[in-house]
């Protein structure tokens, strides 16, 4: 056993990178869970190719998982990493630019053989492990493949099967380096492979081998302690965005007393919501994998007509297909939640990469005047809150509601001080009551003070009525081609959305003063990066504040006043300028766009530099 020194760190960024078949996502997820259980604050960023098994060993096939954890508040997965685990040379090549100088590289030697070098386009006379090109870093080379094979020599497994355990070696080693509890992964492996004991034992053995390697070799002079974060007291769990969205929908179903119907068609990065929801049929959650995107939303409209809490989910390309049906739901004035987990577009775009370029689609992407409510989650756990809120508003106002998330927060994880079911608000729903022959004729488009019409579900005596996509007469709901009536109905549908502003919270400043030189106005998944950037700027003496919009249509009522307190408003977005256009249009202010369209989230330092450039 060697002498190691324990060093205490405030925060660490680790990036696990390898071939897309190397199990890096699983490794990262396990490390995340162990770190969450250890009590650190954290943020993660899975970054993987669209192909399930991209060409082996190539740069395009590199799959990465970055985790940032600490004893202080963690808002982002980190701009640059302290540790890079590189299972092959391609993983090193892709990720070295984001490794801090002096950072640790744990390189799997086997992934740096001549074949891998060739696949990663490394010139024949070069080898980063030996040619000194990594001299600025703390390079640790380990033949993970060889050690794993040796550890499992007697297992009776094939070489191919044995090699699949390599990631557990790395995980065990990194657990040792950072004093992470290993038990949760043991538990995970026992559950995952309970039907295949040989594989279970092999993985556990290799995991331990990784831990012991750290303990017994002299390679690592330091181990690191990252103390639990000082977070608000309470019970926490780790949560990913899509998982949180699914739970938010289920919670809304429970709290409204309505069974949930989720009509959808598989599409990255939204499909995990379907996977999650389909597990909870005992909650009266009814999932429907339709023949296409259009059928997914149309079946949901049918379910809404019948009195269910109806939801459809997709990503941008699927939302494009659903456009006409969203228009129908708007005309029918039925409650419907439309989930869009945004990804980089247009068309197929970059399916596994994040972007915020579907805001205009949500606002205006339909024929005719077709306003809907739009909410946008800002972090993984916020997906729970806003998915719940989307259902609540849809049911309360009898209207379609967009819930926007994006690939970054959908797959990212963070600690979540989750609520008690009892503390979630009830969502009261009442269907129009039955009528007798002597009662006045039922008027399907008679409106209440919110301008919502009654929810009159089939099977209720005396409420027989017809609805449809044709323009209808206000109150009676009969088809109407009357010119003035059409204009009235267009105004009413808009006013109905506008009135929602009376039922949503006012906009707040997230960090910084209520007034100042510059306001960073963000929305969606950029929250963490903007928050961190703002705190850096404030620490450096800049009069900068950050406000983050979660309600986009309608905007909170006080937004105009809030914006007016700043000399400059900057709107950073992962698109070519969408929220900024709406803000300029609505408030006549010279808001400055700041855009990044690379399929990657903002890095905090990029935002800091941009704001300084604007201010200096």
């Amino acid at each position: 056993m060697t002498d190691t020194t324990d060093k205490e760190l405030e925060s660490v960024v680790i990036r696990f990178a390898g071939d897309s078949g190397d199990g890096m996502q699983l490794t990262g997820t396990q490390f995340t869970n162990a770190t969450a259980l250890h009590g650190n604050d954290l943020a993660t960023f899975p970054d993987f190719p669209a192909e399930i098994r991209a060409p082996l060993g190539t740069l395009a096939g590199v799959s990465g998982f970055q985790i940032h954890f600490g004893s202080t508040q963690i808002n982002t997965p980190g701009d640059n990493s302290d540790v890079l685990v590189a299972m092959n040379v391609a993983a090193l090549k892709v990720n070295i630019k984001n490794l801090k100088k002096g950072g640790v590289i744990i390189a799997n030697v086997d992934g740096f053989d001549s074949k891998n070098m060739r696949l990663a386009n490394v010139p024949e006379d070069q080898n980063p492990l030996t040619d000194g090109s990594l001299s600025e870093y703390d390079l640790k080379t380990i033949d993970v493949t060889k050690i794993t094979r040796a550890a499992l020599a007697d297992s009776g497994m094939t070489t191919k099967e044995i090699d699949r355990c390599k990631n557990m070696f790395v995980l065990g080693l990194v657990y040792w380096m950072y004093h992470r509890p290993i038990d949760s992964t043991m538990e995970f492996l026992r559950a995952k492979f309970k039907k295949n004991e040989a594989v279970m034992n092999a993985n556990i053995k290799v995991l331990n081998a990784g831990w012991n390697y750290g303990e017994t070799t002299e390679m690592f002079a330091n181990r690191y302690t990252v103390a639990p974060a000082k977070m608000e007291a309470g019970i926490y769990r780790s949560i990913m965005g899509n998982q949180a969205a699914a739970y938010g929908l289920i919670a809304a179903s429970v709290k409204s007393g309505l069974p949930l119907f989720y009509g959808t068609y598989p599409i990255t990065p939204a499909t995990d919501i379907l996977h999650d929801l389909s597990k909870y049929k005992n909650f009266d959650i009814k999932t429907y994998q339709a023949e296409d995107e259009i059928a997914g939303i149309c079946a949901a409209i049918g379910a809404a007509f019948g009195g269910h809490l109806a939801v459809t989910g997709s990503s941008g390309p699927g939302i494009a297909l659903k456009g006409e049906a969203i228009g129908l739901a708007t005309m029918l004035e039925l409650p419907l939640v439309i989930v869009n987990i945004q990804r980089a577009g247009p068309s197929t775009g970059l399916p596994t990469k994040t972007e915020q370029a579907d805001l205009m689609q949500a606002m205006y992407g339909r024929n005719g005047e077709c306003p809907v409510i739009i909410l946008a989650a800002q972090s993984p756990s916020d997906c729970f809150t806003l998915a719940f809120e989307a259902c609540k508003l849809a049911l309360h106002h009898m209207i379609p509601v967009f819930f926007l998330s994006d690939g970054y927060i959908a797959n990212g994880a963070e600690p979540w001080k989750f609520p008690n079911a009892a503390d979630l608000p009830e969502i009261p729903v009442s269907f129009a009551p039955a009528r007798n022959a002597e009662d006045a004729k039922f008027m399907p488009y008679e409106r209440d003070e919110k301008l919502s019409r009654p929810w009159a579900i089939p099977g209720t005596k005396g409420l027989e009525h017809r609805i449809g996509g044709l323009e209808k007469q206000n109150i009676t709901g009969n088809i109407s081609y009357d010119a003035a009536n059409h204009e009235l109905m267009v105004h009413l549908r808009q006013e109905k959305v506008d009135k929602v502003a009376d039922f949503i919270p006012e906009q707040t400043i997230d960090s910084g003063e209520e007034s100042g030189d510059l306001l960073i106005l963000g929305w969606g998944g950029t929250y963490g990066a903007l928050r961190t950037a703002t705190s850096i700027l404030i620490a450096e003496g800049y009069k900068v504040s950050h406000s983050h919009l979660r309600y986009i249509n309608p905007f909170p009522k006080n937004l105009a006043t809030l914006l007016s307190k700043f000399k400059t408003v900057v709107v950073p977005e992962l698109n070519n300028g969408q929220l900024v256009k709406i803000i300029r249009d609505k408030y006549f202010i010279d808001a400055i766009p700041y855009n990044k369209i690379q399929g990657q989230p903002f890095m905090s330092h990029e935002v800091v530099n941009k704001i300084k450039q604007i201010l200096d």
Binding site: N33, A36, H38, G39, A229, E232, A233, G234, I235, Y236, R237, S238, I239, Y247, I250, A251, V254, F261, G263, Y280, K281, N282, F283, D284, A290, E291, D292, I294, A295, C298, A299, A300, I301, G302, A303, F305, G306, G307, E324, G327, L328, L332, F418, N420, A421, P458, G459, T460, K461, G462, L463, E464, H465, R466, I467, G468, G469, L470, N478, I479
Partner: protein, 341 residues
Amino acid sequence: MAEVIEKLTSKDFASDQEVRWCPGCGDYSILKQVQTVMPDLGRPREEFVFISGIGCSSRFPYYMDTFGMHSIHGRANAIATGLKATRPDLSVWVISGDGDSMSIGGNHFIHMFRRNPDLNLLVFNNQIYGLTKGQYSPTSEKGKVTKSTPMGSIDYPFNPIALSLGADATFVARSMDRDPKHLQAMIRRAYDHKGTSLVEIYQNCNVFNDAAFEIFTEKSSKKEQVLMMEHGKPLIFGENNDKGIKLDGFKPVIVEVNESSINDLWIHDETDLVKATILSRFYDDPSTEGHFPRPFGVFYVNNNKATFDELFNEQIAYAKEKQGAGDLDKLISGKETWVVN
């Protein structure tokens, strides 16, 4: 106390909306036959839902005093599937046309048959786009001259019966607007079938495709050109019921009915998919020499396929029984939590 349900009449199913199809349109007859059959089904009016897409036929729900939805082009089947899955207690009907169901809504048409929700689909086939004023449809014959095909259509038509059988539909029938009794009988059979029921209805568009089915509907030619199928009865047609169909292996043959041939005639069996498939292919142009008569009636019934709505709700019930009702707190907290003091 059991509520006494007063027997409804066909008038009870007529809404107060003025019917706006062109005078002479075959849709009037179909509306009348549906309204005639409804009271006999013995269900309260509020349990019926009519869902349609877009097209002349799709105005239908406005004229029925039931629940109804006039939706968007081609999507009625998808909407109806969602409604029936979540509300199996309702009697759900889809009203569609040839373009709505087999062109823009073709995907939902075949997938609904595959899933087999317990609902009834009435396809008004007039072999033309009427609402958009006369373009060829997916069931128009090849060579059809329309506003969009001045030199004749080069598309081959769908055979709706064969298409639905190919998609494993569990009830497939054909009828016509001009034969009220037969149409009523087919509507009733569709209602009685548990599973998706298709009734293809030959419907005359007297404005854009007049007389398209005249040869099958006019007295002068009907007997020679129409084969009325009845379960358990021989396939006979002709002016004096003098022609019959027999099967020579898998090959259908038209024979003169006489004392010796009568025993060899094909006895219609609605439950035989292979034979239904052969009958579905009696789809020749009636002007060709030696063509088969066009079959009407029930081609095929399969009572052994569970319905989508049954299976869908059985899974929910099973999950509740097995796992118990969901516990929201347990769900939200998950298995691994930690405490911050």
